[in-house]
């Protein structure tokens, strides 16, 4: 790790002027160990919480709060090798599709509105209205139009999740430093290239913040859409189990949902760290200057 950072040409030179004593590789190592430390703390806390739940519930005879060991066994039997796999698959399909549409449309429409000032000014009140409107209230309307099939769920997820990305993209692009725009023009970049190669990357930290928000909304709406009117998915499974007094099944569904949410977040953070490597690096340097 260290050797690799040192091999980076130029990275090891002293920063003349602002911070002569500190060098980039040292800070990289420090940052890496800080991240590792935080991850370790989290892992310990997670293990401790699970352990506590496991121990506390071990002797439970309540049908409402079955022992964790039993829930995990049901989880395996139902979701890993059992019939609920189809429910998981259908949920994931809607989530991935709805979120992808929300993300792409959010960035695309955000960028379009950014470049068309008059349209932006005309639509901005409606955008904020739709943003603050709680998406679940739209579910009945979407059902009326799209029925209760897969399309309805994807539409609900996409419609609810598009706003955070769209508004963050718009805000981020509007906040791009005028010097960067001047630079892009001075380099002779065409309008489209300026948007794609300068404005979008410069706005990326905020776009990513929007995408993270959209992901959370997507997961919530995935479940809500399955609760309301559906014949499949994790949300449907949980509700059906609860209604038929299958509390073990219900808990296994809730646990499955937690796993889906956790995995989605983990993937997001990994992608974010790769994509915004430069942003965090530059910010760490600024912090020291």
């Amino acid at each position: 790790m260290r050797g690799e950072a040192d091999a980076e040409p130029g990275a090891g030179r002293a920063r003349a002027g602002t911070a002569p004593a500190s060098t980039a590789p040292a800070s990289t190592v420090r940052a890496a160990s800080r991240v590792a430390g935080r991850a370790a703390t989290r892992a310990w806390l997670f293990a401790a919480l699970i352990g506590a739940w496991w121990a506390w519930s071990a002797g439970s005879t309540s049908v409402y709060f079955p022992p964790l060991a039993k829930i995990v066994r049901t989880l395996w039997a139902q979701w890993a090798v059992g019939p609920a796999r189809a429910q998981l698959g259908s949920s994931l399909e809607h989530l991935v599709l709805g979120y992808a549409i929300a993300g792409l449309a959010g960035i695309g429409i955000g960028a379009l509105l950014w470049s068309l000032r008059y349209l932006r000014e005309a639509t901005s009140p409606y955008l904020y209205f739709l943003y603050v409107l709680p998406a679940p209230v739209l579910v009945p309307a979407v059902i009326t139009v799209f029925g209760i099939g897969a399309a309805m769920k994807v539409v609900i997820i996409a419609f609810a999740a598009v706003w955070p990305t769209l508004l963050n993209t718009l805000d981020g692009m509007r906040g791009v430093d005028a010097v960067k725009l001047d630079t892009a023009r001075a380099l002779g970049m065409s309008g489209a290239r300026r948007t794609l190669a300068v404005v979008l990357p410069a706005a990326a930290p905020q776009v990513v913040a929007g995408l993270r928000n959209s992901l959370q909304v997507s997961i919530i709406l995935m479940v809500v859409s399955e609760w309301v009117a559906s014949t499949g998915g994790i949300g449907y499974y949980i509700v059906t189990a609860q209604e038929s007094f299958d509390y073990l099944g219900m808990w296994s569904g809730i646990l499955m949902l937690a796993i889906v949410g956790g995995a989605a977040n983990l993937l997001f953070v990994l992608a974010e760290n790769r994509l915004l490597y430069w942003h965090y690096g530059a910010r760490a340097v600024e912090g020291r200057a």
């Binding site: 980076e8 040409p9 130029g10 990275a11 030179r13 002293a14 920063r15 003349a16 002027g17 602002t18 980039a24 430093d177 010097v179 960067k180 001047d182 630079t183 023009r185 001075a186 380099l187 002779g188 970049m189 065409s190 290239r193 190669a197 300068v198 990357p201 410069a202 990326a204 430069w278 942003h279 690096g281 530059a282 340097v285 600024e286």
Partner: protein
């Protein structure tokens, strides 16, 4: 006037006036009436106090801003956008470099934007980075470098497309004195190597006299050209010898007098 050059000037400003609209209507005049030419191969420094309209002038020269009235011609044609023959270095390298790209990436983007073929780009990047003494820094990110090195990246990026005219807006104002002297010598050397005409904006009179063939003095806001002075100091210039020269001191004193009385 120095150099009755047979060629037409690289840039020519005639009666350039530039106002910015004010909130309550009307406008704030940044440049009142600016007229001057820059000959091919010349190193022209524009000095003036803060707020004199130096940045505004440079943006008009680059084609980044249109004058309210008057004309700016680059190689005989009126400016509409930034021409391919112009490179610009901004004051604040931290805001001008693209932090998501490596040093190579920053230079490469300039070449891409001007349509330089993919297979000739790596050699061009290596060449221009070597010219500014950053041959080994290509894979670093700008923010991993010192301020002086970052400004050299910006210079390399501006030179990558081999411009006829290099415009620089107080490029060394935010680095420490020692680094600045090094950068001044670097820009003189690079200018020889690339045979580029330079318009260099600064508020530092010593820097202007040290670098220039000609110093254009802007009065305080709104800017007008209050004086143009040919600098007859020998080249190559030297940080110690040139600045010890009596002629250097005389220019310096004269310019200080001009700027102070305003």
């Amino acid at each position: 006037m120095m150099g009755q050059a047979p060629q037409p000037p690289v840039v020519a400003l005639k009666g350039v006036r530039k106002g910015y609209p004010l909130r309550g209507g009307g406008q704030r005049l940044a440049l009142a009436d600016v007229t001057f030419d820059v000959a091919r191969g010349e190193f022209a420094c524009v000095v003036g106090p803060s707020g004199a309209g130096k940045t505004t002038l440079l943006r008009c020269l680059a084609g980044l801003a249109m004058p309210t009235s008057g004309t700016v011609e680059f190689e005989g044609t009126p400016l509409r956008q930034v021409p391919a023959g112009v490179g610009v270095v901004f004051q604040d390298y931290g805001r001008s470099l693209f932090p998501w790209l490596t040093v190579r990436g920053n230079v490469d983007l300039a070449l891409k934007a001007r349509g330089v073929a993919r297979d000739s780009r790596p050699a061009r990047i290596a060449e221009v980075l070597a010219s500014v003494g950053l041959a080994d820094a290509g894979r670093s990110y700008p923010w991993q470098l010192s301020g002086g090195m970052q400004q050299r990246v910006a210079i390399a990026r501006a030179l990558a497309c081999r411009p006829d005219l290099l415009l620089m807006d107080e490029p060394f104002a935010s680095v420490d004195a020692q680094t600045r002297f090094g950068l001044e010598d670097l820009i003189l050397r690079v200018r020889e190597e690339f045979g580029v005409t330079v318009v260099f904006v600064t508020h530092d009179i010593d820097e202007a006299v040290y670098l220039a063939d000609r110093v254009i003095v802007l009065s305080a806001s709104p800017g007008v050209v209050s004086e143009v002075i040919d600098i007859a100091l020998p080249r190559p210039r030297d940080q110690v010898a040139t600045k010890r020269d009596e002629t250097f001191a005389a220019y310096r004193e004269h310019l200080l007098g001009l700027v102070m009385t305003r």
